[in-house]
Symmetry: C2
Subunit: 146 residues, 2 copies
């Protein structure tokens, strides 16, 4: 577990990997992003994605899971206040294996919580070919050492 | 179905509503954000959230579902290239009923796709008390009328 004092600008963290199946892509999309290009192979071929693609929110969820399980481990949990940026430059396909590389961009005091700081982290999600499928810059609330 | 020419800066769209259950909060978190404050009532009480709270990614997924089903209906689907901003100012609790209010902030040509434009939309997710639980500014790719 890391407190604010244990984190430094430039620190890097890598995650395990996660393979996403067609079944999971369709199940996620059915509930949270019910659009043809996330649900049906044939209709996806005719769409801008030219084949079945995971919802960007699914990619974000997988990224979160990998971050939570990574060596980052802030005391108090991975508590995101929000994002400064999110991009999905390339689709995630059935069978893709994703991993996340994160680095600390900035650390500042929290204005609302004197017992904590805000750690700005860039997390890049890559597929098995090393291609970037998501870039996210998030602001995490991390407690100071008591 | 709306083409780029049918959308204008200042246009507003509202969604239906969606009630989130404790069971769904725990199920989503188990798969994509497995942290105690999203999984277990007692541990959540002792956390920064002071009670069980939905993962922000779950709120984002519900927001996406509501957007897809809303009157926005861009031709070609709701295709997000990314976000300029995302904030979760207040937790989502079991039993909360959410809806989304969106407005068009900006419309510009797509640099990479001459047949489309980029529509910047702010989507605010509110609970049944009218409190904001999420603010998202997204960039959607919308085709021009053929």
């Amino acid at each position: 577990m890391r407190y604010l004092e244990d984190l430094h600008v430039g620190d890097g963290f890598t995650s395990d990997s996660y393979t996403v199946t067609e079944q999971e892509i369709v199940a996620f999309a059915s509930q949270y992003d019910p659009q043809p290009f996330h649900l049906d192979q044939a209709q996806a071929e005719a769409s801008i994605f030219r084949g079945l693609a995971a919802s960007g929110w699914h990619t974000a969820g997988i990224t979160m899971r990998l971050l939570v399980q990574s060596e980052l481990r802030p005391a108090g949990g991975v508590v995101g206040m929000g994002l400064d940026e999110m991009r999905w430059p390339r689709p995630v396909r059935p069978g893709d294996t994703l991993h996340v590389v994160s680095d600390v961009l900035e650390i500042r005091p929290s204005e609302s919580r004197p017992d904590s700081g805000v750690v700005k982290v860039r997390s890049t999600t890559l597929n098995q070919r090393g291609q970037t499928v998501q870039v996210m810059v998030s602001n995490l609330l991390v407690p100071r050492r008591p």
